[in-house]
């Protein structure tokens, strides 16, 4: 298994990728994922995250098989 990571909107463009799969070893929380995908940086405050399509925060636990998403503030409607 693995953890699927997805990016949306301006963050997707900034990251230069739509999604990627991470090996679950060493990943306990959303914050751990961001460290892996952004070269050790902390998750920027304005970036929102979701685990399995529910809003989450950096401390939210992540398990093997989860889908984790990062995106900027939403602007629908």
């Amino acid at each position: 298994m693995s953890i699927k990571v997805r990016y949306f909107a301006s963050l997707r463009e900034k990251m230069g990728r739509v999604e990627e799969s991470l090996a679950p070893e060493g990943i306990d929380t959303v914050a751990d994922i961001w460290k892996v995908v952004d070269e050790g940086q902390p998750l920027p405050e304005h970036i929102l995250c979701a685990v399995n399509m529910e809003y989450a925060d950096p401390a939210t636990p992540v398990r093997d098989g989860d889908e984790v998403a990062f995106f900027p503030p939403v602007t629908g409607g």
Partner: protein
């Protein structure tokens, strides 16, 4: 009913069709509040030529459903129709329709506005604008109150 649409739609025709099919000649709704968001040709002082609406398939629908369910716990209404565009949109085209049918007007107004505000704050949609000299992501929503 909640729907995402990837092509232009006529909000009032949809409303009338849905009302006829779903609420029919029931005589039970005394109040309908409908909000339609339409694409403007300006934003933050700049002319806007077009817009692309991105969403998070699955999460968007889930949160829209939840917002309507929450509204139903707070107000006594009969039905809600919510249609939201995705994809490429041009000025004067509708972006969103929220219509609420209820017995009395207070619930229709309150629930319609609640759904719109929650949608703006929680539903994962993102707008990218096409300006005369390039593109830009809309960074935040305007205040609703």
């Amino acid at each position: 009913m909640i729907e995402l649409r990837d092509a232009p739609f006529e909000p009032y025709a949809e409303l009338v069709r849905y009302q006829a099919q779903t609420l029919g000649q029931t005589g039970k709704y005394g109040a309908t509040c409908a909000f339609v968001g339409t694409m403007r040709d300006f934003n933050e002082g700049d002319a806007v030529r077009a817009m692309t609406l991105e969403h998070y398939a699955g999460m968007t629908e889930r949160h829209l459903e939840r917002i309507v369910t929450e509204a139903g716990r707070r107000w006594d209404f009969l039905d809600v129709l919510l249609i939201h565009r995705i994809g490429e949109i041009f000025p004067d085209q509708p972006i969103v329709l929220v219509a609420v049918w209820s017995s009395h007007r207070g619930a229709a107004f309150d629930a319609c506005r609640y759904v719109m505000e929650e949608l703006k704050h929680r539903a994962p949609f993102w707008k990218k604008e096409v300006l005369a000299n390039g593109e830009r992501w809309v960074e935040k929503n305007t205040q609703g109150y």
